[in-house]
């Protein structure tokens, strides 16, 4: 699928420079590699060392991919002291070197072999800080095609045909949302990209921002063209400094290249995009709160309807999609909506990126077609629990999702199936839990998160989550009574049914799902387990 530029040297080392690998020392490694190459007397033409984005297997960082005539070999956790050996191996194309034995990763590992890169196709391939590299890879070609060859209706038609649904967690059909915005009465309208990825254990959007920011900008520009907007915002959380830096750089480059701004690519279409940096509130990932925050107000959700598609930023129709959704758009246009819809299940099309972490051998970023079973994601791709013990549960959807027990791992991953299990797709965080994990503790962990992140506007979320966390304390500390069990049940239902926004409505999910599948653990935490009411 890649269309690499003609100037790419035959041999190159791609060094991951995304946050995960950076924290594992990728900058030092890259500097050591460059020094070793120079010391060995090789030029950049002979052996290029290219900074790229996410190479997926974050847990084994810093990752380096060696491209040569014989294919690609991947190395993980290479100490800078082995830079010389790695340069030699890359130059000779001989990857049998014993000193690198422990660092060499098998490309046939299910972790790599079972992935289908669609949204992530440029991650790990392109230099995130170079627009020339992105353009050589094909980025912005679909924007140009849309502007010159397609009407906004035709663009929306492809998105509708693709069956793409919002990847931020809600799963609202993207094409329908685009139509709703486009068909509002004439007047100003806005596009917003929600990059306020706040779920614990979720780092999909961060990887896209850090690895392939131009793809996101292309998707955003196509969306703006399709709905008739001339202003856009990317709302990124401040906790992603590298993503903010690269996004700002990408914006500047795109403006200079005439791909954003007035009269894009010689057409009458203009688009201004601004980056807005969040101030640390999780609730600002909720769309109405996010819009308030962009307007400079306190980030508090408001009741919907009206939906932002009708009345969003400054009362104007506003299209709001998350990073992964926007980043899927260029591929959908290139390959066609039908191609995208050929992947996945009846109700959930295409691919989904998951951030795999927790008690799992292969920690990192996974992109698989919708409908792949949870088991193949966590056991085959993820490699199961490191010590070989069985998986107890998989947590999806962060503080809004639930824990799916091991016996249900054969469930296909799609919006409806996960919802039926009392969890949700969420944005894509997947935390694997081993046998030693206590479920009331997991529930309390997430409930405390909700307590801290509640905006305080409505009483069920502001005061209810506090009471729920205290009730869970009693279970964790094994001093609960059967009455606490009944209270926990009742309060969870009340908070879920009466909270104002999605944060409050889904805050009880970690409790409800663990109560459903691991009720015995709660009962065992009561002083008189036998007296607990059966559901």
């Amino acid at each position: 699928m890649s269309s690499s530029g003609s100037t790419t040297p035959a041999r190159q080392l791609r060094c991951c420079g995304a946050s995960g690998c950076r924290s594992a020392g990728s900058e030092e490694l890259q500097a050591a590699l460059e020094a070793a190459r120079d010391a060995a007397g090789h030029t950049a033409q002979e052996l290029a060392i290219k900074p790229v984005g996410c190479l997926r297997l974050c847990g084994r960082g810093p990752l380096v991919a060696c491209d040569g005539p014989g294919g690609t070999t991947l190395y993980g956790a290479v100490p800078p002291t082995e830079a010389g050996a790695l340069i030699e191996a890359a130059r000779l194309g001989d990857h049998g070197n014993d000193t690198l034995q422990t660092s060499r990763l098998d490309p046939q590992l299910p972790f790599f072999a079972l992935q289908s890169s669609v949204v992530l196709e440029g991650c790990g391939q392109v230099d995130p800080e170079s627009i020339d590299d992105a353009i050589a890879f094909g980025t912005y070609s679909q924007l140009r095609r849309c502007l010159h060859e397609l009407t906004p209706e035709e663009v929306r038609e492809q998105v509708k045909r693709s069956g793409l649904r919002g990847r931020g967690g809600g799963g609202y059909p993207t094409g329908l949302k685009w139509d709703t915005v486009a068909l509002q009465p004439p007047g100003p309208r806005y596009v917003v990209c929600n990059a306020d990825e706040g779920d614990p254990g979720a780092f999909m959007d961060r990887s896209v921002l850090e690895s392939d920011p131009h793809r996101l900008l292309e998707g955003l520009a196509i969306a703006a063209y399709a709905v008739g907007a001339d202003r856009g915002y990317v709302y990124v959380r401040a906790e992603y400094p590298l993503a903010v830096e690269r996004l700002r750089k990408a914006l500047q480059q795109a403006r200079r290249a005439g791909l954003l701004g007035n009269g894009i690519d010689g057409t009458s279409f203009s688009l201004t995009i601004e980056v807005r940096v969040g101030a640390g509130a999780y609730v600002c990932g909720e769309e109405t709160a996010l819009l308030q925050s962009i307007q400079g107000q306190r980030g508090m959700p408001r009741p919907r309807p009206p939906y932002p598609a009708q009345s969003g930023l400054w009362g104007a129709p506003t299209l709001i999609n998350n990073v992964e959704t926007m980043a899927a758009v260029p591929v959908i246009l290139r390959e066609g909506g039908d191609w995208y819809a050929s992947m996945g299940t009846a109700g959930s099309k295409g691919t989904k990126v998951f951030a795999l972490s927790g008690a799992v051998t292969n920690t990192g970023l996974v992109e698989v077609p919708m409908g792949t079973t949870l088991r193949s994601v966590v056991e085959v791709i993820g490699g199961g629990v490191p010590d070989g013990s069985p998986i107890k549960a998989v947590q999806t959807g962060g503080p809004s999702g639930g824990c799916i027990p091991a016996e249900l791992l054969d469930t296909p991953v799609d919006y409806e199936s996960l919802m039926e299990l009392g969890s949700m797709m969420g944005s894509g965080g997947m935390v694997v839990m081993g046998e030693t994990t206590s479920m009331p503790e997991v529930a309390r962990h997430f409930m405390r998160f909700s307590v801290n992140e509640s905006c305080g506007k409505c009483v069920p979320c502001r005061a209810g989550t506090v009471q729920l966390a205290q009730l869970l304390d009693r279970f964790v500390e094994r001093r609960a009574s059967p009455a606490d069990m009944a209270k926990l049940d009742a309060l969870c239902r009340m908070v879920k049914a009466t909270s104002l926004c999605g944060l409050g409505q889904s805050a009880p999910n970690p409790v409800l799902s663990t109560l459903r599948y691991f009720r015995h653990e709660y009962e065992a935490a009561c002083r008189q387990p036998a007296l607990c009411e059966q559901p």
């Binding site: 009483v459 502001r462 005061a463 104002l500």
Partner: protein
């Protein structure tokens, strides 16, 4: 003006188009508890007491912010709603320090009235006894955060009717509190016009006249609606 019809607890009512479900319940003579809503101020849907069931929708809708539409069928007092309302009132009492016996608003308090209305005689949830402060720096009024339920009526009346925007909400979650000016002592906020509208609308004894002692506070929660009608429609209802 076109008129729509809908049913409230099985009773058909006709109301003007464009009004909220709250007006529909009033037209049907149904009394639902309200704390954050006040006629004359923008509704925010925060207290969740006015939630109603709408047939055909699996979500509960706040009557104050939901637009009524033709043919809707709503239910206001189902067993489940009564249950949720009582729990919400318990949560209100448990999260603050509401000691009625000492309160300026005792006997004339909307929180107290709502508790009676939903039948809340005790809280099943433990009282949190939060550490909160009293700000008596203003020459005429004082705010006792112990009694605040964060309805934001003061914030809205000051912003929407008086146009001074002295009040706002600070912090998050259970640490939320009403702030004066840039989180200053109220008495130091130069924007305050001493109009006292925040005192008039406060549903509890949180904001009060300094001269009021126990059970002496009078509420004037009808004033925003009167002022709004006077300004928007040039109708002076008190004349």
């Amino acid at each position: 003006m076109s008129v729509i019809t809908l049913s409230v607890n099985g009773k058909e009512v006709a109301i003007p188009e464009g009004v909220s479900l709250l007006e529909a319940t009033r037209a049907a003579g149904v009394d639902i508890p309200l704390l954050c809503h006040l006629d004359g101020l923008e509704p925010v849907g925060a207290c969740r007491l006015c939630l109603v069931e709408v047939e055909g929708s699996n979500r509960l809708m706040p009557a104050c912010t939901t637009a009524a539409s033709e043919g809707m069928a709503i239910h206001t007092h189902t067993h489940q709603l009564l249950d949720y309302r009582r729990m919400a009132v318990e949560l209100f009492f448990a999260e603050g320090n509401h000691i009625c016996a000492f309160c300026v608003a005792n006997g004339n308090c909307e929180l107290q009235n709502v508790a009676v209305q939903v039948g809340m005689d005790h809280s099943r949830f433990p009282y949190q006894y939060p550490q909160r402060v009293v700000d008596a720096s203003h020459p005429l009024f004082a705010i006792d955060h112990n009694r605040c339920i964060l309805c934001t009526r003061c914030v809205r009346v000051c912003d929407e009717i008086e146009g001074a925007h002295v009040w706002d909400v600070g912090s998050r979650g259970s640490h939320c509190h009403i702030v004066a000016g840039l989180d200053q002592p109220w008495g130091e906020v130069e924007a305050c016009t001493n109009c006292g509208k925040c005192v008039d609308v406060c549903p509890t004894g949180a904001i009060f006249h300094k001269e009021d002692t126990t059970a002496e506070k009078l509420r004037h929660s009808d004033r925003p609606a009167l002022l709004k009608a006077a300004r928007d429609e040039h109708v002076w209802r008190n004349q």
